[in-house]
Amino acid sequence: MKFDNQTFSKAIEDRRRFLKKLAVFAGSSGVLASMPWWTPLRAGPPGNSALDRVRLGIIGVGSRGRKLMLHLMETPGVEVIAVCDDYEPHYQRAIDLTKGRATAFYDYHKMLEMKDLDGVVIATPLYNHAPICIDSMRAGQNVFCEKSLAYDFDQCAEIVKIHRESKKVFQIGYQRLFSMPFLKLKEYVDSGAIGEITQIRAYWHRNNDWRRSVPSPEWEKKINWRLYREFSCGLMTELASHHLQVANWILDSHPMAAVGYGSINRWKDGRELYDSCNVVYKYPNGVNVVYDSMISNRRYGLEIQVLGTEGTIEGEKGKVYSEHPPASPAIVQLINELERDILDSVPIGGPSWVPDLELDIKGKWLTPDWSGEETAIQLAAFANAIREGKPIPGMIEHAYRGGVASLMGQFAMEQGREIKWPEGIEI
């Protein structure tokens, strides 16, 4: 795709129209009751005056940071005035993409000294989320930080503490918080339509080594930081964190404890973090969240299944299934019965019972016509919140709960014991 001025102008106008519609929706429906973090979206897109402009700096312009930067460049009323990366190819690419209009830095401390900066977007490896968040908030900046929140429990708590003192906008990169199907999912659950929630199952499966190409061996850990313990918590913080945030949201709670096992069973290439993770989280009222992630098979992809006594919701697919689907027409039932009587044989060596295979029902779409881009919406919400000068409700709570839950899973697997929810922060 070509990123010229015309492309961006058209994209900004498209996005402006979309955000106008979204503002009407956010203002007129009950969405704010279940998703208060949509509050900034009620304002809609800003005008074109310089006063409306929010000037942002992006710290970390690698794979995710680049994507966020391109989204921000298409967001009405947002100007990317600074970029920062200490890896030369990313640094140069960011300069090229911003056509040299953004000031480029190797050291984020220097960026934080800029006088006309309204906020920063942090998309660095996990281990330095906390130091950069904390330094940015102490420098008076509004902060958007990619998930997961931080590298350990203390860092997570420190970010919450400093955010509460700063009164600035803090947002975390959990885009499902801005997804219409997930909003519908939450409404379904709260309405009791799928009965009592008894379990949540989530998984994220891929089949690749999760590596990025490295120009020379000395850059291995810098580029493939997701594979090394000193920089990341691997699949739990990079993938699981999203679904754990959704589970916390659905259950209006956080996990009390976690147990699990992890292993490196496929990619024995010197990596330190698991390529296979299995964790069970204990929530209040006897509900468990069962999570697994692997990078050696992608048959089942990713999904979060909310299992209730009256139905099931698959969040990623955006479908709801009843436990009591309407019966087939009588004539079909009769034909099926005749077919069974005539064709079914009594197995001699096989099972004499009917296996409880997956029910073959089509389900119903949660939002049949939704085609929004959640990342774009959440960045628009961040920009609007900065413009209004008001923190986004509920955001730090999701950041903390999701971040800590993903760390609990990693620690449980590493330490081979139950890890309890850390005390100390009221959330």
């Binding site: 019966a327 027409p329 009588a330 004539i331 079909v332 039932q333 009769l334 034909i335």
Partner: protein
């Protein structure tokens, strides 16, 4: 090329057989509704199933009818062969 003549009586007979199949399938539908206790609305809403079933029965009937027809032709040929 030989010309085949489709007689009106033959068309009438096929229509009667097809109607018989539709009535049979409708009766099966009614029986199924009674048996499984579903709504009588299905007399209308399951018409596509009834039509499919009627078509299937009509085709099924075709097989023995064809065999009988072939048998009759064969017997007639044999008879005419012996008489000459």
């Amino acid at each position: 090329m030989k010309d085949y003549i489709i007689k009106g009586t033959w068309i009438k007979q096929e229509v009667y057989i097809l109607m018989g199949c539709v009535i049979f399938a409708s009766l099966v539908n009614a029986y199924a509704i009674l048996k499984f206790g579903t709504s009588w609305v299905e007399i209308i809403t399951s018409l596509h199933y009834v039509a499919a079933m009627a078509g299937a029965v009509y085709l099924l009937i075709w097989v023995p009818r064809l065999l009988i027809k072939l048998l009759v032709i064969l017997v007639n040929r044999l008879k005419s062969g012996t008489s000459s």
